[in-house]
Symmetry: C2
Subunit: 340 residues, 2 copies
DNA sequence: TTGTACGCGTTATCAG
DNA sequence: CTGATAACGCGTACAA
């Protein structure tokens, strides 16, 4: 821990006032060129660096916004972040990123951290463990605008950016039905996440529309990560309870399932067809290429950040709105019915 | 922009001094229980939140350390971050993450951002665009310890955590040679990155050891991302300049190459064998599974963070050392010589 | 137990 | 052009 040089130090060294030093360093017109030079030289010599805390204590602006995401092991959030960063950069703001690791506790810790760095706004995709609703509300009340994206709070009234999970799950399921698959299962995501519920709802409604029987047997919880999909599929194989096709909560679970299918000597789509969700780069690289719903990740980031910027600029309190973005389905070999 | 409540505000409301308020909120013993209660109630009612900048201006501690990574689209950095976070958390510190997006300019901006948040130390894996050497040095000089990992500065004297790229590239190449491949190429990483140089050097030396001819023709620049590997492979196919095997800079380039191979109606490893580097989850999921060097990502993070903590605790200036961690080679189908 | 007064490092205002 | 001086919000000796 070294001691920093301060304005006072360099003022003392030059026998002038701190005010002059401050002005000289700010390169203002109302200071003579020679003192300016003297000051700047002395500053360099003492390796002077302005104390950011003191500055902020004065003008109360940090030009920084904070971000909380659950993780960035999958490609989803990194892509969203790129979109966010674009908007933030263009607006001349800085971005501080934190990772909640799907833990409610760490999420709260991160929010506090961002707060103590005086971010002017917060973008958040909440953890699957649960919602810190009271805290989100508290942030908003204390004047820090919050924008939710992807995984949103159901209770807090704030701008939200999501995709129409229900509709896309519906489409994906119908796609399997139209392709002539008869025994269709669903691998469900984390139960207390709104996206899981929406996708499950879309699946069920599509099945019902086409008069397919929907029982609890055809829905299996498989979480977010590939291992979970792997295990869920292994279980089905062990029980000899093989469906024709599975609509998976996301790509990782679908890829995990794919691995289990291959290991069991089965084939995709011949024995079990698969549909993923929220397109990852891997979807195209894997064999067979995976049918998946491609979310506009970059655009999600752009939209969320823009909504935040809007709030930051308009001091007027606009009613918070939920933006639903459109996604598209990439149909690939993993969901082609070869028996048809 | 709302105005925050301050100590003064709540002191005024209660007709007492700010000092008492301060002490009451700090829950000290030298203040009567009733005023304590009064103050705490008033604080809650005014939604009082201590101004972090003022606090930091006083005790000059933030208990926060900063991180700069080039990107986190690949799984590599997210895993490292998990390791870092473990150590940081255990030590009671906070972590601020930034992303340089492989841009030298953004990297410097991020360093400044971290600095202005008064982080007590910085962990960095530098961008491939070049090195902000002067700036790293400046940080260290001004008392902020810096630890490099994975992608390190060649000029700045500071602790570094790397894996033995040279040796592993050497092994990987020998593995291909021992497997009977004759025409072996190398897809090189970004030219000005030390890891690229090390891996290339390992490749060349292994080839030389076994008296293979090494010309510029067998080394092709392919960058970091899968598209680059895809294009590089397409070029080779177009020129009808097919090798038996390729040692790729990393997994994404190898996967890109794999895609090009498949699209051209060729087979891996039958026509072209592949070896990747820095194992990604996808390596096992792809067909054929990809031989790759598995880096101890989590451990890299743990080690780097530990080195930083060491520096933070020991006020003594210890000579900076470079830690080389061991990696292992996962041999899979993509590098099996079926002709042998 | 409570209040006064000062310092943390800056910037801004107002005289000179 | 330059120098006092106050203020930002908080903590804390010291005095009462």
């Amino acid at each position: 821990m070294k001691k920093y040089a301060t304005l006072k130090d360099i003022a003392k060294a030059l026998n002038i006032s701190t005010a002059t030093v401050s002005r000289a360093l700010a390169d203002r017109w109302d200071v003579s060129c020679e003192t300016k030079k003297l000051v700047q030289e002395e500053a360099k010599r003492q390796n002077y660096r302005p104390n950011p805390m003191a500055t902020r204590l004065q003008n109360k602006r940090t030009k920084t916004i904070g971000l909380v995401v659950p993780e960035f092991k999958s490609a989803f959030f990194p892509n969203v972040i790129s979109g966010i960063q674009k908007v933030i950069d263009d607006a001349g703001y800085n971005l501080l990123i934190t990772q909640s690791q799907e833990s409610k506790e760490i999420e709260e810790k991160n929010l506090k951290l961002l707060e103590s760095n005086m971010v002017e706004g917060i973008l958040i995709s909440i953890t699957r463990e649960g919602e810190n609703d009271e805290y989100y509300q508290r942030l908003i009340d204390s004047g820090i605008p919050v924008v939710f994206f992807n995984r949103v709070s159901s209770k807090v009234d704030a701008p939200k950016v999501i995709i129409d999970d229900y509709r896309l799950a519906f489409f994906a399921t119908e796609h399997l039905i139209y392709n002539g698959f008869k025994k269709i299962y669903h691998f469900e995501g984390p139960v207390n996440l709104s996206v899981s519920k929406e996708r499950k709802r879309g699946f069920i409604d599509a099945m019902k529309k086409h008069h397919r029987e929907v029982s609890e047997k055809i829905i299996h919880t498989a979480g977010v990560f590939s291992e979970k999909g792997y295990i869920a599929m292994q279980n089905l194989i062990a029980k000899n309870d093989l469906p024709d096709a599975i609509f998976c909560f996301n790509d990782p679970t679908a890829l995990g399932a794919l691995k289990a299918i291959k290991e069991a000597g089965l084939k995709c789509p011949d024995d079990v067809a698969l549909v993923g969700f929220s397109e990852t780069e891997i979807a195209q690289l894997v064999e067979p290429p995976l049918t998946s719903i491609e979310q506009p990740t970059f655009e999600i980031g752009v939209t969320a950040a823009s909504l935040l910027m809007e709030q930051l600029n308009d001091c007027v309190v606009t009613p918070s709105r939920t933006v639903k973005l459109i996604a598209k389905m990439n149909i690939r070999k993993s969901s082609i019915n070869i028996k048809k």
